[in-house]
Amino acid sequence: MRNHASAWRDFVQGRTGFTFARASLYGFFVLAVVSWLYILVGADSGFGDLLSSRAWNNAGGFLRQLLGLEDGLTGEGRPAFLQLDRWGETGRLAYETLMMSVLAIGLAGLGVLLTFLPAARNVSNGELGGRPSAVMGAIYHVLRIFFAFTRAVPELVWAMVIVFFLSPGILPGAIALALHNYGIVGKLSAEVVENMDPGPARALRSAGAGNLQMLAYGIIPQSMPHFLTYLLYRWEVVIRTTVVVGFVSAGGLGREFRLSLSFFQYTDVALIILWYLILVLGVDLISAFLRRMVRTG
């Protein structure tokens, strides 16, 4: 390894190999300066408020109301998070939110299972067996573009669109989340197949396996652990996003969050945030446990 004091100097002075990265860093720096100028100069940026004590007083008031230290406009008396029945009511919504996240991940996983194999270049062009065909090549490209498109659009935007045709509830939100995560997990799973060690598949061939048998005995068992791991990681992200999607799709904690905010019931907001953190922690723990089970085969 190089001497690292000189490595640092080299990097700053530009004598290292990664020219494109360095150029990008400078480019990003320029972009950052321009962006900040655009924001600060623009009207209504809000940053001027940081200097005013009024804004900080408002913020402080908001925080105090959140913590139940100060009564808001509604003058509710006891903060929501100290009332047991409120815990129960919000808990039911948390349960609904949990369901929505599981439904979303399940739908995404189902979609990926059905389509990740043709989306792998070495399956569709026949490297792993079979003859390349124009149809399979076309399917490969269509799927990859579909992955990229569903991935690029944020879940909330999908939700906004879907709510136009489906009634509010947990389903539109779940589908929106499923679409976005389908693109992510689909691309990753197809890449797993593309990067896979061809040895075992080849050995199965020489043992006499045909294409379908090779998929079933070789490719799918090797890609399943990765697929499940990605899916479980995404579940952790989905549970955080489910609340947000609920703003639009009117399901679970999200809807209640929005309502409580608009009615200035800030201690309810705090209670919802607490349940939200419980959900997030719970899902993180379960996901870690399941991922460990997957890893040890």
């Binding site: 640092w8 913020a59 599981v102 945030i273």
Partner: protein, 272 residues
């Protein structure tokens, strides 16, 4: 492995420890989640079917008039601007927090480790809350403005960056660091001359990856009234102008693709 003589018990035991059991449980959980949907009510609301048809037809062709394209480009720019501002703040906040959380600043001591643990919790809290939830909170606190959007991206992303930065700094090989220490370096110089150069490529790599996510985050800040692609999509949806919606979706797609491509090239150049 239960190795009994009775083949019936053996096969039962095998059934439970097999991966099949896990799969059945997972399928069962998925089916449970389906029960949460109100299948009795109308899934597709009245007019939903025709809306879907209109929406699908809006793709052929999407809105391509020069006036609208100009609007879409401006909206894209606004999205980029907020994403970049949020990212820069995220790095400015996340880097020092990450350094402290890695425990590599200052001399080894119990208090330093305790502070590191506290900072880790803070970072975890920051990133547990979704950027839009932060946005709503910031708007409630400071009012509707770019500040809310930028902070709403900066805070959770600082949490994510800080956590990765601290892990990368810790994963650095100890050998060269020992060399610096024995050459008489103070712990600060070990950090700057030793850890940082070895860690910086991974840190840059992850930061550029996060930037792509920041674009998406900025797009949905429309929800708190920040102009950008999300805002325009909302407007066009409300006016039922589905051709416009598709155009904006494609702009979003293109923007994300562009940043993704840039980010991938940067990471490839760093790996070499």
């Amino acid at each position: 492995m239960i190795w009994t003589g009775n083949p019936k018990i053996r096969s039962l035991a095998r059934f439970f420890e097999a991966r099949w059991f896990l799969s059945i449980v997972l399928v069962g959980v998925f089916l449970w989640s389906l029960t949460g949907v109100d299948w009795n009510g109308s899934i597709v609301h009245s007019g939903g079917g025709s809306s879907f048809k209109d929406f699908s037809l809006g793709l052929f062709p999407p809105e391509l008039s020069p006036g609208f394209m100009k609007l879409a480009i401006i909206a894209s720019w606004q999205t980029v601007v907020h994403a970049v501002a949020g990212m820069t703040l995220a790095v400015i906040i996340g880097l020092p927090l990450g350094v402290v959380a890695s425990g590599s600043l200052g001399n080894p001591s119990r208090s330093r480790l305790a502070i590191a643990v506290v900072v880790r919790f803070v970072l975890a809290f920051m990133r547990s809350i979704h950027e839009l939830v932060w946005a709503v909170l910031f708007v409630a606190a400071f009012g509707l403005s770019s500040l809310a959007a930028v902070m709403a991206i900066a805070v959770p992303y600082a949490g994510m960056l800080g956590r990765i930065y601290s892990e990368v700094l810790n994963d650095v090989p100890e050998g060269p660091l020992d060399g610096l220490r024995s050459a008489g370096g103070s712990s600060f110089s070990v950090l700057v001359y030793g850890r940082m150069p070895m860690a910086i490529t991974d840190m840059l790599s992850y930061s550029f990856y996060r930037f792509e996510c920041a674009i998406r985050a900025a797009a949905i800040m429309s929800f708190v009234g920040i102009r950008g692609l999300g805002f325009e999509i909302q407007l066009s949806l409300n006016d039922l102008l589905f051709g416009e919606v598709w155009t904006l979706l494609f702009f979003l797609f293109g923007l994300v693709l562009l940043v993704d491509y840039w980010s991938t090239r940067v990471r490839r150049s760093l790996d070499s």
